[in-house]
Amino acid sequence: MEAYLRFANDNLWGELWPELSLCLGALIVIGINLFSKSSNFHDRSGNFAILFQFLLLLIHLFDYLLLRHTFDRHSFSGMIKHGMHEDIMRSFFLLSSLIVSILAQSFLRVRKLRIGEFHHLTMVATAGLMILCQTQNFILFFVALETVALCFYPLVAYNRECAKGLEAGIKYLIFGALSSALLLFGIVLLYGVGANPEAWGAITPTVGQVDGFSFSALYHLLSENPNHLLLKAGVVLIISGIAFKIGAAPFQIWVPDVYHGAPMPVTAFLAVSSKAAGFFVLLNLVNGPFAGMSDFLLPLLGFVATFTIFFGNLAACSQKNLKRMLGLSGVAHAGYLMVAVMASMILPGSSDRAVWILFFYLFTYLLASFAVFGIMGIANVSDDAEHEFSDYEDLAKKKPWAAFSLVVGIGSLAGIPPLAGFIGKLLLFSVAFETKLYFSLTAMVIGVVISIYYYFGWLREICFHPRPVFEDDEPSHDSWLGSENSGLIKTVILSLVVASIVLGIWQGSIGDAF
């Protein structure tokens, strides 16, 4: 009994209260949905989900900013780390899932899709993402990753009446499962050598316990044996599995198709939360267990980053479908963020400047992406998957507030000076220069210049009327006449826009980096 008590005392369940209450809330949502008698698409459960997540975010921020500052603790026998970075990411995911729920509410209502299940899946996925960012053990890592993936597959194919959505769901499932299998194979190779190093010709580390799954034990193992073949293969496989999730080249094939077919709020969720989780995990791994192999990993990541930036930007130029274009521009953003990860590998410590710049960039990306996807979600186009440039023609006259939000969102994604995205890119450039990543820096600058081309093509459609109008034209379908005008969505999008502008002018302590 005594022996078990030691482990039980180490399990700080109270520290996991945001995840636990999110799962509880998800169950309540599905319960309300199950036991309410009225029609399919009534939205009581959705309203509850939004209110619940809002309160949870408020309490979590209060708890994190004011009550508790005891960071850097490990619990569950070292499986979970409670730290400052982890808490920032938890707030990030809660915020993003709250915005996704708000955007989805009216989107689902207009299209007569079921509401409760959507919020349930979103909340469970968010709980999985939050655990994923705190884990320090590959078993928990795998389980959290699969929780997230299994929630995303049905979300992508949420509209079962739409063949495009189903096709996107199947594509995402096949590629996601393949990437999980590769990642798992890498984990198994590391575990195999870690469990008995001598049997596979590696040196047993002198410090730390023998454990093939925990990050700290693997750190010692990898720094003692940086040239072991099985370990190298394992690390490469794990990195490629994560590259799949963040959509980095050469594993980006699924991105345009899945973004194209998924419903708009899910596209936004994928673009923001899933990508941010991938980057945080990558950062954790290269600064934690894989730190001993940085000489081997740096050229690899550098190649991937450069390839990703060029591929994403060049492929986005030729797209006519806006969702595909945004997906490929997201690939390019993944390339920029990869450079921040490389810089943080070069800078010493796991909480250096590059890490904070990565966080800042992720937050600006969240603000801009949700503004853009939110406006696209309220457009009343006949097919949600097909947003063309011409649907946005002359938006500035038809709906000034929507046009303004779109312009700010796109400008922030492109990195135009008074907006937050510009500061994010500037900080990235400066840290890449500081760590002497000149090659990647050049690629980033060229990429940003290319990206101006396709972003501004869209801006031109919004602000001006690029095509002449003739008297005998067929009256085309106007996507903005019947578009919905929910007050809540308008408030949320406008506050995202204001935050984008404010962060472009004032950055708090991050701004001291200049």
């Binding site: 096949i174 393949l178 870690g194 093939g212």
Partner: protein, 102 residues
């Protein structure tokens, strides 16, 4: 007398993973692609148990249960999506998909 060493089991597992990966690339039937994925995961299970046996360490055996559960869940979702798509398009071949293009 030939003895079966851990290396043989590893060879088997790498073969299973390789066959699964190849099947995923070559097959045009989504049902068979899902089966190839299962084959890969089972190959990984064999490798995991071999490593666990060589290392006298039970952690690997625990991960195997998680992998089996996840594989079952993944296939359940995959088949559900496939059935829904089949009702719409009357096909399970990946060549016949292609609604998503520029």
């Amino acid at each position: 007398m030939l003895t079966v060493t851990p290396q043989h089991f590893l060879l088997l597992s790498f073969l299973l993973i390789g066959i699964g990966f190849l099947g995923l690339l070559v097959r045009r039937n989504v049902l068979l692609m899902l089966m190839s994925l299962e084959l890969m995961l089972n190959g990984i299970n064999v490798a995991l148990l071999t490593f666990s046996r060589v290392g006298y360490n039970l952690d690997g055996g625990i991960l195997v249960f998680f992998i089996m559960t996840v594989a079952a869940a993944e296939v359940a979702v995959g088949l559900a999506l496939l059935v829904a798509l089949y009702k719409k398009r009357k096909t399970v071949l990946s060549d016949d998909m292609g609604l998503l293009r520029n």
